[in-house]
């Protein structure tokens, strides 16, 4: 697909590449610096989770054009162990860094749309979208 580019996450440095990709696309679409920083922070969190918990996977950045709106979607996919209790990890204060506001609920708040799909033993698929205002 033309509107989508991906970065494989295998080691920690790949997180930087994923951020770079996200920033470039965000700039290109016209996001301001604050939103660029939010998008890249969200990418870091998702990529770091892949690196830490799934071992490897990929982060894709997709340009969105929907009924006149322009947006950026982060897609995080891995075939790792998956998450058994999604409700629990989406709860504030659950992440291991507890209280730093980071983690998946934080990503959800930074972005406009958030979708998570995960099955134990199969992997995790997260999509988070930010729309240009």
């Amino acid at each position: 697909m033309d509107n989508q580019s991906c970065v494989k996450i295998i080691n920690e440095w790949d997180i930087v590449s994923a951020r770079q990709l996200g920033r470039n696309v965000a700039k290109e679409l016209g996001f301001g610096t604050v939103d660029q920083a939010r998008i890249t922070t969200a990418i870091s969190e998702l990529a770091r989770n892949i690196f830490l918990y799934a071992g490897q996977g990929q982060i894709c950045i997709e340009k969105m054009y929907e009924s006149g709106k322009v947006g950026l979607r982060i897609i995080s996919i891995d075939k790792g162990p998956g998450i058994s209790d999604i409700r629990q990890v989406m709860e504030d204060g659950y992440s291991t860094s507890g209280g730093l506001g980071a983690g998946l609920p934080g990503v959800k708040r930074l972005m406009d749309e958030f979708m998570i799909d995960s099955n134990p033993g199969e992997g995790t698929d997260i999509q988070a979208t930010k729309w240009l205002r």
Binding site: T33, V34, A37, R38, T41, D92, G93, G99, L100, G101
Partner: protein
């Protein structure tokens, strides 16, 4: 986004006025500004961005590219703070919901466990029970029956808060379901002991004192399951003594037998029952001395029994800097002169 626009012009005003004179006035205004921005949930990264943009606008020539870029680092760091800020907002909201839920639960508990202090000829009875948190792990109950007697149960779950309170509801219903004619103190405790032993997990223990006051003979018969000992006040001697009572806590061994004790109550004398939240009231120097408690009771002796318990509570609350560490229950039964 009206507020954002006015926020921008307000911030520009602050910045220019400060850069002109460096006045404390402008700094004070900035502090007020931040309150306003916080009320509107403006995250820190937006403030950084606003500042940077205004600097570019105000000093197009002097604000160098390096200076501008340095703000990218600050912005990135502030997104992290913004992350935490948003979580904090949400946690505050959740806390508020939990608090409301606890308040409702406390009301339900009040209704479930509520008891009225009975009016009995020849007796003056007072009782107070205050939870350390929302839910009370102490419990007391009065029953007045036809044949001139008042029964009093006072119990304390080791532990406090919600788990203790849930446990207490069970005790109350177990007690209600005891057959009417088998309410001698030892029988009550032995029955409840079996209920607790079967139903409550091993880490939850309950102490209880159950007594029956016969208003004709003025004899108080009671039994205790490891409960904080009661006191007897002898009015003629103006002296306190401990009401002896031995017995194992409820829920330890289902075969536990309890012993019944009797105390004859003279005119003007008092039976004082309490939970360990009273004797374990703590001040900065440690537990309060028993003497302190006794002298507080004496101080208010001229009042009704209800007046005594309320005032003793008030004083102990103050001594503890208004922070109860444990649920507090105090009951006084006085034989009128």
């Amino acid at each position: 986004m009206d507020f954002r626009r006015s926020m921008e012009s307000k911030y520009r005003e602050l910045l220019t006025s400060y850069l002109k004179g460096g006045s404390e006035q402008a700094l004070y205004q900035s502090q007020k500004f931040s309150r306003n921005a916080l009320e509107r949930n403006i995250p820190p990264e937006e403030m950084v961005s606003l500042h940077k943009n205004l600097m570019i606008e105000l000093f197009p020539d002097d604000f160098t590219a390096e200076m501008q870029e340095s703000f990218d680092i600050l912005l990135e760091v502030m997104v992290g703070y913004g992350f935490a800020y948003r979580e904090h907002q949400n946690l505050k909201h959740i806390q508020q919901e939990l608090r409301t839920e606890m308040e409702i639960a406390a009301n339900v508990q009040q209704t479930l466990l509520g008891t009225e202090v009975p009016c009995v000829d020849g007796m003056d009875i007072g009782a107070i029970s205050v939870p350390a948190k929302h839910m009370n792990g102490d419990y007391f109950h009065f029953v007045k029956d036809e044949n001139n007697s008042v029964s009093i149960a006072i119990a304390d779950v080791i532990g406090k808060g919600l788990p203790a309170a849930l446990c207490m509801s069970m005790i109350k219903y177990a007690m209600d379901s005891l057959p009417e004619n088998r309410k001698s103190p030892t029988v009550v405790l032995e029955n409840l002991n079996r209920v607790v032993e079967q139903n409550v997990d091993l880490t939850m223990f309950i102490t209880m004192l159950y007594g029956t006051y016969n208003t004709a003979s003025h004899c108080f018969s009671y039994a205790s399951a490891g409960h904080e000992p009661g006191l007897y006040y002898d009015a003629t001697q103006d002296e306190f003594s401990e009401l002896p009572a031995k017995g194992l806590l409820l829920g330890i061994d289902k075969k536990t037998k309890y012993r019944e004790y009797e105390k004859e109550v003279m005119p003007g004398d008092m039976i004082i029952l309490m939970s360990d939240g009273v004797t374990e009231s703590r001040t900065e120097e440690g537990f309060i001395e028993r003497e302190t408690l006794l002298s507080l009771i004496k101080k208010y002796l001229h009042l009704s029994a209800q007046g005594v318990v309320q005032n003793v509570y008030k004083e102990l609350e103050k001594l503890q800097d208004f922070q109860l560490r444990d649920d507090f229950t105090l009951i006084i039964l006085r034989r009128k002169v």
